[in-house]
Amino acid sequence: MSDVSLQAQASGVQAATQERRRSRRWRTDLIGIGFVLPFLIVYALFLIWPVILGLRMSFFNWTISSIGSSDFLGLANYQELFGDPAFWHALGVTLLFTIISTPLLVIIALALALLVNRAIPAGGLFRTVFFAPFVLPVSVVALIWNWLYQPGFGLVNGILTELGLKEVGWLSDPSIALLSVVIMTVWWTVGFNFLLYLAGLQQIPVELNEAASLDGAGAWARIRRVTIPLLRRTTSLVIILQVIASLQVFQQAYVLFNGTDGPNFSTRSVVQYIYESGFTTYRVGFASAMSYVLFIVILIVSLGQFVLFTRQRGEA
């Protein structure tokens, strides 16, 4: 074979490979999209579309069964919402619940994790006990606590009177009812944060604590100066997730108070008001506007926390 023919062949091969490469490129794109497509369809239909539909609905006088879906209101739903004392009350309940429950759910989780993480016999058993309530359905939890909170023959009040203390109107006193929801929620969900902390603790090298101990640091000083700073990542995550969850409080309070708003509306949260507006008075457009306001609140709060925590981390 001569040099010339070899060259010609080579350029022919080159063109062919280029061609093949381009068609392979297209094939890879198609295959990639093909793998993602099933998820994407479900995702678009049941996560993205409702977000868009909800925004649209919030501008209309939309009621159940799409009646009024052509009755454009502009921002009237939002205006009505901001002038509605019931909405501000529900927002207050939600924020109060978040402010009380978040520190408890973070600090108790951390304390439990620090205790269980010590080399203690039956550590696995304790882990099981503290986490187990988390896997119970909300209705089971609320039924049990409704029973525990009963006046007179309820276990909690029974123990209080046994100790010579006064009974508490866990389910009837408007100034206590939200606290009852908080206590029940701590019992139910603290196990999740506890597990996150436990995992974080197990990432800390034992040598660090031993070194601090050799330097004469006591247990408390080690926790404060070594462990807690090293857990900062976990703490940020726990707080962000907890605040997002607490701002959506609804179901446990709803079942605990038998589908009511608690004494004197003291446990009606934003999500509960959304539910009532959408599904008992059928003001779907109004409920959508409220959903969007809550969405924005959650988004701002979580982004704010995110920025705060990353900046802190940057400084440290």
Partner: protein
């Protein structure tokens, strides 16, 4: 003086220090254990009290002063629970919908994650971020438009109405992608040389290797949908179509003050998930830990 004679007292002192440190650690551990036992009792009492109440004769549950004992213990409350509620049907509904959600979530999420991890197609990064952004959408705010959508599809009060909105889980995609990224490329090269299609690579090589991720996602999807209250509560109206959490939320009003029976229902509603949890505790705990450490 020899070096040894200097070293002796130093070593002795070190040993002494170590032993006091050990003793101090022992007392600290002892104190921690006592605190833990007290807390564990507080944590477990509500469940024990529910079981205790469920075994009492109905007339004795509201006795004052409160007592753990009763004249006799009986299964009457359980028998009348089965006689008067739809509990077996609710179990069936919960099991069916949760199982479908669990299986489909694993399939959809792993397929997508495989492409994100192994196929270099155009637009893949943007798509991945769009999907991850879905984690930011709080589920509770979607109930109103989702219900309107289900009405349009004619799926209100049906199994598909319960199932469809619970299938797309961005976190599941994330978990699978993390796992797939850790699998070395070399494992598939031989198969690719033999001309295996990407789907076969996914199905016959990747998925068997991803068993721990599959277990974590499947168990989580199952438990989360089994426990989901709000969505089934909204989309279901007929008693026959209710899931366990939704059905349970109705017994308080329908039983009135029959506390033994209410607690029997609660215990029955809680036991299946507790059993699943005890069986798969390791996977659940590791799954939560993994998300936490990576998040």
């Amino acid at each position: 003086m020899s070096i040894q004679s200097i070293a002796q007292p130093v070593r002795a002192r070190a040993r002494e220090q170590a032993s006091t440190a050990l003793m101090r650690r022992r007392t600290a551990n002892g104190a921690a254990l006592v605190v833990l036992v007290v807390l564990a009792i507080i944590w477990i009492v509500p469940i024990l009290w529910a079981i205790d109440t469920s075994l009492k004769p109905e007339g004795e549950t509201t006795a004052v002063p409160v007592s753990w004992l009763a004249s006799h213990f009986t299964l009457d409350a359980y028998i009348s629970t089965f006689a008067t509620t739809n509990l077996p049907r609710w179990f069936f509904n919960s099991f069916l919908t949760s199982a479908i959600i669990s299986v489909v979530t694993v399939i959809l999420a792993s397929l997508a994650a495989f492409a994100f991890s192994r196929v270099s197609f155009r637009g893949k990064n943007i798509l991945f971020w769009i999907i991850l952004a879905g984690i930011m959408i709080p589920g509770q705010i979607l109930i109103v438009p989702l219900f309107t959508q289900m009405q349009a599809f004619g799926l209100v009060d049906t199994y598909w109405g319960i199932i469809l909105p619970q299938l797309a889980s961005p976190i599941a995609v994330f978990i699978f992608k993390q796992y797939f990224d850790g699998i070395p490329h070399e494992l598939e090269e031989a198969a690719v040389m033999d001309g295996a299609s990407l789907f076969r690579v996914y199905w016959q090589i990747w998925m068997p290797l991803a068993r721990p991720a599959i277990a974590a996602v499947a168990i989580f999807a199952f438990v989360i949908s089994w426990n989901n209250f709000l969505w089934p509560f909204i989309v279901i109206s007929g008693n026959n179509m209710m899931t366990v959490p939704v059905g349970l939320s109705t017994v308080q009003t329908s039983f009135g003050i029959r506390y033994a029976q209410i607690m029997a229902t609660a215990v029955l509603g809680g036991i299946p998930v507790l059993i699943v949890f005890l069986f798969f505790q390791r996977q659940i705990v590791q799954g939560i830990a993994a998300t936490g450490l990576k998040g």
